[in-house]
């Protein structure tokens, strides 16, 4: 066992390979040359601006999505009973309302 190369190639392979590659690239010069290319600094500036715009949009969106009332658990049952007592509505009407299908 030694470090020499144990593999071989068909005779004339590398010369033939060179010709094959050059034929391929000369036949199809399909390199993607952009018509307009932004300078690198402008690309970074555009990326940072995009991040700020997205973060801003998400923040504004979160303000509108926030529930209007989220502290119901802070009020005791007694407080709610007192509140209901103060409304001009009798118990019958209130219970009818609660059991109706509209709720």
């Amino acid at each position: 066992m030694n470090k020499r190369n144990h593999f071989s190639v068909p005779e004339g392979y590398f010369e033939q390979f060179h010709n094959t590659i050059m034929e391929q690239i000369e036949r199809k010069p399909s390199k993607t040359r952009p018509i307009f290319r932004l300078p690198a600094q402008l690309k970074y500036a555009a990326a940072i601006s995009a991040i700020f715009i997205i973060c801003g949009a998400l923040y504004i969106n979160s303000l509108y999505d926030r529930p209007l009332y989220t502290h119901a658990e802070e009020y005791s049952n007694e407080y709610i009973d007192d509140l209901l007592d103060s409304y001009p509505i009798d118990d019958y009407t209130f219970y009818t309302y609660l059991t109706s299908n509209d709720i």
């Binding site: 066992m1 144990h6 593999f7 590398f14 390979f17 060179h18 094959t20 590659i21 050059m22 993607t32």
Partner: protein, 186 residues
């Protein structure tokens, strides 16, 4: 074997690659200068000439299609090695999906190599390649580049994007595993 260009020739090739008037001629020089060393780099990973030829072609076609993105920050050989390595790893991952498991290669690689008319080694050499094939892919790359190509850790580091410390550790672990594999087969 084609002699790789020295630093002066490399700079000259890079400058010519940037000029549309001399680009094709410079690329031709690069293909001549690097195809052989890249071929052996690929062949030691995939073993068969047919697969190596396909991967090498893809490497140069990709390099040509992205030639305008090559800024010349690294050596052209480093850039080509990176493309060839990525192409090789992609090929191996596709091949892995097609085969049932890696363990099925055990005891098979050496036999296949000995039957390959384009393999000139003896049984011990074939066993060495089988042992190397049992390593994880990154370790195989490091082992091959260091052991067969005598590449410096700094060069390997630029190609694989791994620190030299990690590469040294990886190489020593790989060498130990290869030794154990061969001993277990004796």
């Amino acid at each position: 074997m084609t002699k790789p260009p020295n630093n002066c020739d490399e700079r000259s090739i890079i400058e010519k690659l940037r000029d549309p008037a001399t680009q094709t001629a410079a690329f031709s020089l690069a293909v001549r200068a690097y195809s052989e060393q890249l071929y052996w780099h690929i062949r030691r990973m995939v073993f068969t000439h047919e697969d190596s030829n396909d991967i090498l072609q893809n490497t140069f076609i990709k390099a040509w299609n992205n030639i305008d993105n090559f800024r010349g920050d690294s050596q052209i050989s480093t850039w080509l090695y990176r493309i060839a390595t990525n192409e090789t790893l992609t090929h191996l991952s596709h091949k892995r999906i097609e085969t049932v498991s890696l363990n099925s290669d055990e005891g098979k690689i050496a036999h296949e190599l000995e039957c390959d008319p384009l393999f000139n080694g003896n049984h011990a050499d074939a066993l060495l390649h089988e042992a190397i094939n049992s390593l994880p892919e990154k370790q195989r790359l490091v082992f091959n580049m260091r052991y067969f190509n005598d590449m410096k850790y700094e060069e390997i580091s630029q190609i694989l994007g791994t620190s030299t410390g990690a590469l040294k550790a990886s190489y020593h672990i790989a060498a130990k595993k290869v030794e154990e594999y061969i001993t277990s087969k004796d």
